[in-house]
């Protein structure tokens, strides 16, 4: 009898934990007042319902958070399923939201494309916003979005190259795909323009912090003068930068929380620029069929400089010049 | 005082729901004697021993050790009172050394650290005293079965056992190992140890015992000594009626050769030759017995005949002139072979299956058990009940899991299934090993009956008494070869024993 009671207790404990964990991660970041003001009239009146399916945590200071923040700036509080690194779980969530009649489902992860191609045709009335992806797989109820991450990468690389003064810069990449590759290749070009080499290592995982940390440490052992990295595992690399007093460059979200004194600049994804366009089209009856890029030019990519890092005024000016050059099309970042 | 027995169990009675396992059993063991407990499975021997080791509490009766009333509550407390046990299934840890196995559970003289050198020295002393040669440093898995048994005995002696129980100790030993064991046991009794010997092998009991107590259905049916009794009398006391140790065999005219083996060569599990150039015919109406110490190719020969093991090129196996050299088990059966395998729980029956399922293991697809595509369970039940009755398989029901039956009843079940198909050839490997005398008698009579009806029977047995009692011709295997074939009338035990040991090879 005692044994059974204990088992029941354990089972209950497990259940509570799981439910609590689920609730914990569902809590949407509170929308800042500032962002709320940005919301234009049309958006405020939207009758559409939204859901977001994303691989990492909503507050990962990286990929997923960039989308949560962007939706927040549009005044949208979607239902969220996050932490779905497992594609099958994400697919189930996407289908579930569609069956529940959610109007717009943001499918935030390149890796969900295969599932989306199966699910989207079953729900022609639902609009799916999928990224990062450069095309819609020919589905007319799917919008695709993509960051021209090489642009901010170039700017970061240029600053890093100047700071490094000819020394090598360490790059910690996740999986060699998508916007990570774009960012890193742009970064390498920018660094080269400033006369610095880059040493690039892809860990093979978006989430393996231990490996990202080890990789960054290996870079430091090799004598790199600055570090950058992308994906949520980059927190490990940022901590190594901060432990070794090396300049750090962020991307996707503003990574100041990871390395507050040493973050020089972050390329921040403002998806809201293209999301607003998409939502407008959806309200007009067009549920998809178009791929949109965020760029420095359309304001979807924003370079945020850290006030806490004393960046030389000349260097800041050179960075601003590069941004202008990229927007004008005078500088190639690919 | 010198007549106070080492152990005496007085008027022990133990009942389980519906079963009277021990009914007013009394017996005693003196220092320096071997006292045999003889009885069929279920006669109450193991219940009595479990009571001795504190695993069961008797309903009534008392146990005295060295004249004092003893309270034994667990195997550990038995050890403390210098009562040891050598289990039929060894209680050894194969990956530990001999010394570690002996030291297990004992307090080390070095506290937390082991004192295996001290233990090894003591083991060597004991070994020398009783002729139990074994290396204390060696891992137990490297030892032969006989050596492992010695480790078990050393474990008991190391704990100063004055009374040692040996449960079926010879079941797994070769004849030479049995002889060695008996020498050791004699040395122990000479040193004053009392031994309880549990066995059902009658000639061993007669050879080793000082006194014999026979149990049947939980009750003592007789106290005797080897000088006062005989194999036949012991068998009768065990079974409770007159037993035929060797069945009557009427003369039968030999028919044609039904099973033919020509130049049969077979590889064993390790890739070496296990059977070499075996030639043998088994005719309708005869039983050919293959004698030999186990491990001389008998198992591989049987498996090849049954279609379970491939033969080498140039070999030939045929039944009634149908070539079966490369046949599957199904084709072999279709050609008329019935196979009673050596490992009855591994190859002969599925332990978790019900009795009825095992009875139908081979022929369940036949039309007579079906109604359309479905089983006709009423017919199946009738058929199985008939077999169970005919072969007197003792089972609570047809739905009983087969593994819960006794060895003899499982063997009868397999015989029932195998004979039901009206075979032309029966291959029976160790048909009565580990089986009660009563069941063995029945199995033997069934085999003889089949022979009388013109079936050709090839019987493999390590039990020379069984071969001599049943076979019409005897073939001896040694190192994979058939080294001798002799008619029963011309065979002597001594001659066969020599051939089994390889004497014919040199001649």
């Amino acid at each position: 009898m005692k044994a059974k009671q204990l088992l029941k207790l354990l089972a209950a404990l497990f259940a509570i934990t799981l439910v609590a964990a689920a609730c914990g991660s569902d809590t949407v970041e509170e929308v800042t007042e500032e962002a709320a003001e940005v919301v234009d009239e049309a958006m405020a009146e939207t009758e559409l319902t939204f859901a977001l399916v994303a691989p990492s945590a909503s507050d990962d200071v990286a990929f997923t958070q960039s989308m949560v923040d962007s939706l927040g700036r549009l005044g949208i509080e979607p239902q969220i399923t996050d932490g779905t690194f497992v594609v099958e779980e994400a697919a189930a969530a996407i289908r579930g939201y569609a069956e529940d009649g959610v109007n717009v489902i943001v499918v935030h992860g390149t890796q969900y494309g295969g599932s989306l191609a199966e699910i989207a045709p079953d729900f022609p009335e639902t609009s799916f916003i999928w990224g990062t992806a450069t095309d819609t797989q020919g589905l007319d109820n799917v919008f695709a979005y993509y960051p021209e991450a090489d642009q901010g990468g170039y700017v970061n690389g240029l600053i890093a190259g100047n700071l490094a003064d000819g020394a090598t810069i360490g790059v910690v990449g996740p999986v060699e795909a998508g916007d990570a590759v774009a960012y890193i290749e742009g970064f390498a070009l920018g660094a080269a323009a400033a006369g610095s080499d880059t040493s690039i290592v892809y860990t093979g995982s978006f989430s393996d912090v231990a490996l990202a940390t080890t990789t960054a440490q290996a870079h430091v052992d090799n004598g790199v003068a600055a570090l950058t990295g992308t994906s949520q595992s980059a927190v490990g690399a940022a901590s190594i930068a901060s432990a070794n007093d090396l300049p750090w460059f962020g991307t996707q979200s503003n990574t100041e929380p990871w390395a507050s004194d040493l973050t020089v600049a972050s390329q921040v994804y403002h998806w809201d620029v293209v999301l607003a366009d998409m939502i407008e089209m959806i309200e007009g009856g067009t549920l998809g069929g178009e791929a949109m890029q965020i760029t420095l030019e359309n304001g979807g990519l924003v370079m945020e400089f850290n006030d806490g890092f004393e960046l030389d005024a000349d260097l800041k000016a050179a960075a601003d010049e590069a941004i202008a050059g990229i927007i004008a099309g005078d500088i190639a970042t690919k | 005082m010198e007549h106070t027995p080492l152990l005496s169990m007085h008027n022990i009675t133990k009942t389980f729901p519906g079963v009277l396992a021990n009914d007013d059993v009394s017996f005693d063991v003196r220092n320096g004697e071997v006292h045999t407990l003889l009885g069929e499975n279920g006669a109450g021997k193991s219940t009595l021993m479990k009571i001795l080791f504190g695993l069961y509490k008797p309903d009534s009766g008392e146990i005295r050790l060295r004249g004092e009333v003893a309270s034994i509550t667990s195997p550990t407390s038995a050890i403390e009172q210098r009562v040891g046990m050598v289990h039929q299934h060894f209680m050894l840890v194969p990956t530990l050394t001999v010394a570690e196995n002996v030291a297990l559970g004992l307090t080390s003289s070095r506290g937390f650290r082991t004192d295996l050198d001290v233990v090894s020295d003591r083991i060597t002393e004991i070994s020398e005293q009783y002729g139990l040669s074994v290396d204390p440093e060696i891992d137990v898995w490297k030892l032969s079965v006989g050596e492992r048994q010695r480790v078990e005995i050393i474990k008991a002696l190391y704990r100063d056992a004055e009374l040692l129980v040996l449960d079926e100790p010879t079941a797994v030993l070769t004849p030479q190992e049995v002889a060695d064991l008996f020498v050791i046991l004699r040395q122990m009794t000479d040193a004053g140890t009392g031994i309880i010997f549990i066995s059902h092998k009658l000639h061993e009991v007669l050879e080793l015992s000082d006194r014999i107590t026979v149990l049947r259905n939980g009750r003592v049916t007789g106290h005797t000594t080897p000088a006062e009794t005989s194999r036949q009398q012991l068998a009768d006391m065990m079974v409770g009626r007159e037993v035929k140790l060797a069945p009557d065999k009427p003369h039968v005219d030999l028919g044609l050769a039904r099973l033919r083996l020509r130049n049969l060569s077979v590889k064993g599990d390790r890739g070496t030759m296990a059977v070499v150039d075996a030639d043998l015919d088994v005719h309708a109406g005869e039983i050919v017995g293959i004698a030999g110490v186990s491990g001389n190719g008998q198992r591989e020969l049987a498996e090849t005949v049954a279609g379970l093991r491939p033969a080498e090129a140039g070999s030939s196996v045929s039944i009634d002139d149908v070539d079966l050299t490369t046949a599957t088990p199904a084709r072999t059966r279709a050609a008329g072979l019935s196979y009673v395998p050596e490992e009855r729980m591994k190859d002969g029956a599925v332990g978790e299956f019900q009795v009825s399922e095992n009875l139908l293991l081979i022929n369940h697809a036949e039309a007579r058990f079906r109604r359309g595509p479905l089983f006709d369970f009423a017919k199946i039940r009738d058929h199985c009940q008939e077999l169970v009755d005919q072969f007197s398989v003792k089972t609570p029901s047809l739905a009983t899991p087969t593994s819960s039956l006794s060895g003899g009843n499982i063997q009868k079940l397999i015989m029932a299934r195998e004979l039901e198909s009206k075979p032309s050839v029966i291959l029976a490997a160790q048909p009565t090993r580990g089986v009660d005398i009563g069941a063995a008698e029945y199995i033997h009579s069934q085999l003889v009956e089949q022979r009388n009806e013109g079936v050709a029977i090839l019987m493999i047995s390590e039990d020379l008494d069984e071969i001599l009692g049943l076979a019409d011709r005897i073939a001896v295997m040694f190192e994979g070869r058939i080294v001798k074939v002799v008619d029963r009338e011309n065979a002597t035990k001594e001659e066969l024993g020599l051939a089994m040991a390889g004497a014919e090879v040199d001649a």
Partner: protein, 317 residues
């Protein structure tokens, strides 16, 4: 390629390998003790996560690494009590119970992290674990030795502890009565029981030891990284279980496996950073540690059989 085979790069690679191997080694050594007693604990990863979070949070709040280790140890012990109770006394199936422990650790560590911390915060401006004064001071003259100095004498205390545990666990298993009992109940519990060895007690203690080491392994991980986040271990605990199998339940082989895994990982990172592995082949390279380690251990240690009673609950009847 040539720039890899310079003494300083090789030494640095070895240094990375050693540091990387420590959490794997600690967890796998613990699991070795448990498995030798016949109990498989698939929950190692979960225990590491909870121990890792506990240690991280303790250090974040108190700046004390010692407290971090103590918390990791305590968490491991507690998880061990739960697992041991369920598997030894309730005879629960070990496979699924271990997965339960894993899921609990995974979910609960994330919940605590979300509630108490929120976002991955590097522990700063604390000195990182590498500069723990006790070791730095002790070995300072030795660290100056060229190449070998930093390689052998510039690690944190936990690294030395982990490698000292290898002979210690071997000694425990092979030279003590407790170790003998552990091996016996993992192989033939009936035999051990018949000689008065308590199977339940032996297994209980072995599980506690294993789980405690898993907790310490998690603490080591999060303190070495100076970070915690959701699923920080990323499967280290499962690789540790695999190392025990492929290391044939021998601490030396398990250590060899952990080091090899670390070495291959460190080498491929180094090769990538030196451009020896071309861009585009990174995903293939990422599989190399697991594949090479498993192949090597299978070839070297496969002949050894595991504890016969592994995953089998014991009862007298």
């Amino acid at each position: 390629m040539s720039e890899f085979f310079t003494i300083s790069v090789l030494a640095a690679t070895l240094g990375t390998a050693i540091r990387f191997a420590v959490p794997y080694l600690l967890a796998a050594l613990g699991e070795t003790i448990g498995q030798r007693s016949g109990v498989l604990n698939l929950g190692v990863d979960g225990t590491m996560l909870l121990g890792g979070f506990g240690a991280y949070y303790a250090v974040l709040k108190t700046d004390s690494h010692s407290l971090g280790i103590l918390v990791g140890l305590g968490v491991g012990l507690l998880m061990g009590v739960v697992y041991a109770y369920v598997t030894v006394f309730l005879d629960a199936k070990q496979g699924i119970s271990g997965i339960g422990i894993y899921l609990f650790g995974l979910g609960f560590s994330d919940l605590l992290f979300q509630e108490l911390v929120g976002t991955p915060l590097p522990i700063r401006p604390l000195p990182t674990l590498d500069k723990l004064p006790v070791v730095g001071g002790l070995f300072e003259p030795l660290v100056e030795i060229e190449v070998i100095g930093p390689l052998l004498f510039d690690h944190n205390l936990l690294t030395y502890l982990a490698f000292l545990l290898v002979p210690a666990v071997t000694w425990l298993l092979m030279k003590t009565t407790f170790g003998m009992n552990v091996r016996a109940v993992g192989e033939n519990p009936q035999a051990a029981d018949s000689l008065g060895v308590s199977v339940a007690k032996t297994r209980f203690i072995a599980i506690l030891m294993g789980s405690t080491l898993a907790g310490v392994a998690g603490a080591t991980l999060s303190m070495q990284l100076a970070i915690f986040q959701h699923n920080l271990t990323n499967g280290i605990g499962f690789i540790a279980v695999a190392l025990v199998y492929f290391g044939a339940w021998r601490p030396r082989w398990v250590m060899a496996g952990a080091l090899l895994y670390g070495l291959v990982t460190a080498t491929r990172i180094r090769w990538q950073s030196l451009g020896i592995i071309p861009q585009g082949a990174s995903d293939v390279a990422a599989m190399a540690p697991a594949i090479i380690t498993i192949l090597a251990l299978v070839l070297l240690a496969s002949r050894v059989r595991g504890p016969a009673a592994l995953t089998k609950p014991f009862s007298r009847h």
